[in-house]
């Protein structure tokens, strides 16, 4: 990206971190709830982006890993009393294991057929969990036990604690993306994403690299699943394996800018802000408003800004940094 050439990006990141850390101190519980959603979906987007953005393997089945993470930790918690912190890692490992056969099946497919196959795997998992009544509560799902303020069990009295956990997850996702982006793996991934056959021809083991990034992406997505059910105290297959989760993971990345570090974050902030505005205008009674607007945004981005909206911001940033205060007023007009 162009942003590294001008200004001091680290200063901006530091400012962003400071704002993010201070937000719970000044927000209402309602606003905090929205911020937690933003952080969570940005994190899922970041996890998806490793796979879909850098390696361009356009998965529409990441709900599979989200659901596995959620179910693993919940089963460990309720059946064995194991802390969700451990359950979270266990869920990540289960998701990694699940990604191996799914990858083996789907990786020989390209483009749209990869996407369709991933939809099918997530749906099959959902249907299976709907059937497993004995150890996974079937279609009714279950509520999670409320243990009061028990930080060791990932349960907190104050919303801001959840906020910081979500923030830590997002920071982890961004740190992993950053380090992958700047390693040999990042270059291999981009090569696979640009042209798989060409990458293979110059000696990249494309299947292996796709398998590796799928493992990481699945692991991170599962962490989000555990956090989500711990936050809403409820689990059922239709929620945690929901197709909407797979869609939103892809959507925030595409709107923000796939294959960029901050793309999913920018995309989530924009979409969730839109969603909050729509709710305040229309109320939450009108089913379909939110996704109608999301899909219009998605179509507009694909037709006019296929690299995502993050480009708008880096242009703007560059202009601001170069032109100083006198011309800064014009810049938003171009945005």
């Amino acid at each position: 990206m162009t942003q590294s050439k001008v200004g001091r990006p680290w200063l901006w990141v530091a400012a962003l971190v400071a704002v993010a850390l201070a937000l719970p101190l000044i927000s209402s519980p309602f606003a905090l709830d929205i911020f937690i959603r933003v952080l969570l979906f940005a994190f899922i987007g970041v996890a998806w982006n490793l796979m879909g953005g850098y390696a361009k393997q356009l998965s529409l089945g990441h709900a599979a890993f989200f659901g596995l993470g959620a179910y693993t930790s919940t089963i460990l918690l309720i059946r064995f009393g194991i802390s969700p912190w451990i359950g979270m890692l266990a869920g990540g490992v289960v998701a990694m294991l699940a990604s191996l056969p799914i990858g083996a099946l789907c990786f020989r497919l390209r483009g749209p057929y990869f996407a369709i196959a991933t939809i099918a795997t997530a749906q099959v998992l959902m249907l299976l969990f709907l059937k497993f009544r004995d150890f996974a509560w079937g279609a009714e799902g279950t509520t999670l036990p409320n243990l009061g303020d028990a930080p060791l069990m990932m349960q907190f009295d104050s919303k801001s604690a959840y906020y910081y956990v979500a923030l830590a997850l997002l920071a982890l996702g961004l740190a992993i993306t950053y380090s992958i982006e700047h390693s040999w793996m990042g270059f291999y991934l981009v090569a696979v994403g640009e042209d798989e056959d060409a990458a293979e021809a110059v000696g990249v083991d494309t299947t292996k690299i796709k398998r590796h990034i799928y493992l990481i992406s699945a692991f991170l997505t599962a962490l989000a699943g555990t956090f989500y059910v711990e936050y809403i105290y409820f689990i059922d297959p239709n929620t945690v394996f929901s197709f909407n989760i797979s869609v939103e993971a892809a959507l925030v990345s595409i709107v923000g800018g796939i294959g960029t570090l901050w793309g999913p974050v920018v995309g989530t902030v924009l979409l969730e802000a839109t969603s909050a505005l729509l709710q305040s205008w229309f109320g939450s009674g009108h089913g379909g408003v939110q996704l109608t607007v999301y899909s219009l945004i998605l179509i507009a981005v694909i037709l006019w800004r296929p690299n995502g909206l993050i480009g708008l911001f880096s242009d703007l940033y560059e202009r601001l940094a170069l032109s100083g205060s006198s011309r800064a007023k014009e810049a938003p007009l171009d945005g």
Binding site: L58, Y113, L127, P306
Partner: protein, 289 residues
């Protein structure tokens, strides 16, 4: 037992005819334009709502409204190709996949906003009618749907093999560059291909209306069936898609009959995954991407 089996096969075959109309549309667009249309099921949904409103407002029989839904959706197809799909043809996988995907999301949620999630049904004199031949029952509405679906498939075959435009379309499907060198205007051919494909989906919607409820998500199951059938029948192969759709209909019906009422979807997904794992190039030929 044998009669139950035969009855399940008949039921599956009849609904398979409707699946075929959707699959043929998907495979036609894929073959000619090289795009997977994720929104094909939603055009079936639009066809259903057109027939529903014509029936409930003007008392027009759904089978008659075929003559309205098909041209309407042909026009929609031309517009979709011209204003949307054409603009992403030169771009990569992401825009090509997510454009029609976004369109699908948009149409579902618009339908939800405009028509709510309620099931809409149309009662026709033949909705409940059955005829029996020997031990087998044939639901008349499904029988008509199957017959018209086969007729439309036959007409499409004649169009592709007997007219200049149809031949141009097949040429463009085989080799876009060479077809262009021969003086075929790809934009026009693509518009017609997408238009015809959507008209078929619209026809499927109208044919379903006498015996199937319309609701915003109704297209999803049909499009998934179509994807499986299209992979099974080899991408871009119209006869393959037709045969595979009939097979899918039978497989689903047997699943419902012998495994359980809610297993239809699982059968579809398992068949899709098995097909992808075992025969990623489909059953009817080696044409692969």
């Amino acid at each position: 037992m044998l009669a139950t089996l035969a009855q399940a096969v008949v039921n599956g075959l009849l609904i398979g005819g409707v699946y075929a109309l959707v699959s043929i549309g998907v495979t036609l667009i894929f073959g000619v334009v090289k795009i997977v249309n994720f929104a094909q099921g939603e055009f079936l949904m639009i066809g259903m709502y057109i027939s529903f409103f014509l029936a409930s407002s003007f008392g027009i029989d759904p089978l008659l409204s075929l003559l309205i839904s098909m041209p309407c959706l042909f026009a929609v197809g031309v517009l979709v190709q011209h204003f949307l799909i054409r603009r992403v043809l030169a771009l990569g996988d992401m825009p090509q996949i997510f454009l029609t995907f976004a369109l699908s999301l948009l149409l579902i949620n618009l339908a939800l906003l405009l028509f709510t999630a309620n099931y809409r049904t149309v009662q026709t004199p033949y909705s409940e009618l059955t005829i029996h031949i020997g031990p087998l029952y044939f639901a008349v509405a499904k029988l008509i749907a199957f017959a018209i679906a086969m007729l439309l498939s036959g007409l499409l075959w004649l169009f592709l093999h007997g007219t200049d435009l149809g031949k141009a379309m097949r040429a463009a499907a085989q080799n876009r560059e060479v077809a262009m060198l021969m003086g075929i205007n790809p934009d026009r051919v693509f518009c017609v291909a997408v238009g015809v494909a959507l008209a078929l989906a619209g026809a499927a919607g109208s044919l379903l209306m006498p015996f199937y409820p319309a609701y915003p998500l109704v297209g999803q199951i049909f499009v998934l069936m179509a994807f499986v059938a299209v992979v099974l029948g080899t991408l871009g192969n119209i006869t393959g898609a037709l045969i595979a759709s009939l097979m899918m209909g039978i497989a689903e019906s047997l699943g419902v009959q012998f495994v359980g009422a809610d297993s239809g979807l699982i059968v579809v997904f398992v068949m899709l995954l098995l097909t992808l794992a075992l025969r990623p190039n489909g059953l009817f030929g080696g044409w692969a991407r």
